[in-house]
Symmetry: C3
Amino acid sequence: MRFKDLDIISMKDFSRDMIDHILDTAEKLEPIAKNEEKSDILNGKILAVLFFEPSTRTRMSFETAIKRLNGDVLSLGAVDASSITKGENLADTIRVIEGYADGIVLRHPKEGSAKMAAEMTTIPVINAGDGAGHHPTQTFLDLYTMRRESRLDGVKIAIAGDLKYGRTVHSLCYALSHYNAEITLVSPKDLRMPREIIRDLKNRGIEVKQTDSMEDAIQDVDVLYVTRIQKERFPDPAEYQRVSTSLQVTNELLKNANPDLKIMHPLPRVNEIDSGVDFTSHACYFKQSFYGVPVRMALLSLIMGCVE
Amino acid sequence: MRFKDLDIISMKDFSRDMIDHILDTAEKLEPIAKNEEKSDILNGKILAVLFFEPSTRTRMSFETAIKRLNGDVLSLGAVDASSITKGENLADTIRVIEGYADGIVLRHPKEGSAKMAAEMTTIPVINAGDGAGHHPTQTFLDLYTMRRESRLDGVKIAIAGDLKYGRTVHSLCYALSHYNAEITLVSPKDLRMPREIIRDLKNRGIEVKQTDSMEDAIQDVDVLYVTRIQKERFPDPAEYQRVSTSLQVTNELLKNANPDLKIMHPLPRVNEIDSGVDFTSHACYFKQSFYGVPVRMALLSLIMGCVE
Amino acid sequence: MRFKDLDIISMKDFSRDMIDHILDTAEKLEPIAKNEEKSDILNGKILAVLFFEPSTRTRMSFETAIKRLNGDVLSLGAVDASSITKGENLADTIRVIEGYADGIVLRHPKEGSAKMAAEMTTIPVINAGDGAGHHPTQTFLDLYTMRRESRLDGVKIAIAGDLKYGRTVHSLCYALSHYNAEITLVSPKDLRMPREIIRDLKNRGIEVKQTDSMEDAIQDVDVLYVTRIQKERFPDPAEYQRVSTSLQVTNELLKNANPDLKIMHPLPRVNEIDSGVDFTSHACYFKQSFYGVPVRMALLSLIMGCVE
């Protein structure tokens, strides 16, 4: 396996061995992420952080990752505050940034933009979300969270919310297919996982169940992964209200849950998880958010050639 | 006294001993603030700078403070350029940031937000202004400026401007009550210091005079502290004009002033102090602004446990 | 020559000896700009980056320059996200920043603002564009690019585009007059170089030709320097279309060009250079953009007194 100069564009490019190596590396770097240890691994490295859409969480997580390793950040800034407004195209921007930085993290509304950027430059590019496309570092941190807080190999997981449009959930399911997961899908009828994805998963030998009842879904799982349902998907606000209430995670719902059940959420949440749940041992979403740091540390160190 | 992990929310939480220790620490760190000496005191530390309202001066002062000590900054960025726009609540933001940083500086329009944030997280929180609430680091730097440029213990001070709504002025008066100050208040009739504050100060043994004449006020003081009067307070623009002119500090006004008089202002100013005053030995407001750096260095070093 | 504390306001302030020394210094620092070597030259230094207009490229280039030398940056942020909106004047801002930083890079829409800023403060100020005024670091990097990629002394150069309003082109021509350049000017009739500049250049012994034909212009030159023509200059969109097409650089145009011809452009481009040209050996504009880094490293190191 060679990670130096590798672009991180889509989970589909990663074998189980590669994923395991990334997660192993993240685990080694975790004490640095917690600032229990100091490190100079990325000293002198500059990461360009190009966010053409707002995403505080992802951006800050990458910035923390490189800064904890003593590297530095070059930020595009708010997009309208840049020469982008003068009409420059992304390809030129990437080739200019190549002269300034040792790696690029790109978030861009256009599907395929990260792949295009990677083709334009010799420095490694990380896709931090390209519209309806991919967001692989979210998936890596999801896998890492299961490994650290529950179990990854053979995990029984219920995934709830908008499974039709939620790109990260599709990516997560494919990744879980490397780990003999048992997947239960919970969604309103109109937001079900696309059939071709379910077929793909079954072809890979993964057991997939579907239900629209949260109570049924969480009977016997290790992990409940909750995602946001966007109001905009529903022409009728009353229907949105009904659906989001029926899927809401509350302490009431969790009364009979497996005591070891861990609840994950990519955040930000709206009201999918009641704040009362935050104080239970089930709540795992803030830890999950933190785990983005060691995972991104691992990715940056590997692709910048500073860790093997 | 134990400062490690202490939240800096309100001046009311600080005894004279604590204030003195902070100012002593600032004085030790001042050569680093001036870049006459280098320091690694906060090496490896990350300060999250969360400004939900613009405040260039305060933000930059904190950033300089941590960078001069070799720590680094994680910035929320312009607020609309963040996932805040997706409707995330402050409590969740704070718990996410906790995974990224070793301390938080928060400015937020809502009174009480800093206190709430501090209760949500185990990392220390500094209140850099919470609406009509508190802004304690401004008060610390005001006290430090008096100590360095005039005198703090027993200082005779005239405070002029909007004394009704100016939160920092109230905070300053309470803090000065630890130092046997003699306070003269100068304000237009409708913007006088609230009676309960004056009563509190007198109960603490502080002499408080009131006047609406700048000439009277500066007869015999060490420090003239000027604050901004906001146009919006006056329904009648002509009345604003009259009031702001009557309180304006000019070289003409200062002709008979104590030669050692020092003029302070939290900045930015509009026209409360004529620019001609800038070149006199009375002008102390740019130094005051600089003193924000050693004072914030001291606070950061103390609460991050890197200085005793 | 003494560079410590020197302000970089206008090319007119620089003799050939000074320019040569800056370019020599840039050449020494180039391996650090490429991250082939590490450096601590500006360790502990803070550069305030005050951009009152967007200019991603220039800002990032300065930030990379100081970060590669282990200094740090203090950013004003997006302008509307600052207390500038409270109406503070530039002079006060500069005097406040003086307390935070060891140098200032200023971009401001008002001509003369950098000079004014430099007069307000004892720390060095670099003009990164002041409206219709100057932008000297662009010129330094242009000269450096010729020196590295073609030749600077005695260079035969064609300069094409808007030569009337393009401030950087005027500055470049004056600078080239130190180097016995032969200059061919290519522009639409209404956007010709002002006569007084041509006269000045001739008085300095520089050969200047004018043409409106790109084909003629590039017959026998080392460098083709292309600049943007702004649509807004043309009341008639059809006229803009005609003009910009007639000056567009394409592989067709370059068929008979000198094989060593280097094409430069300050970027961002719109359609002055067809993207097909990017993959030829003529294309030099992305390298030119990169050369901004060693040049700005040299300037920062010299004026901060960290390199002789």
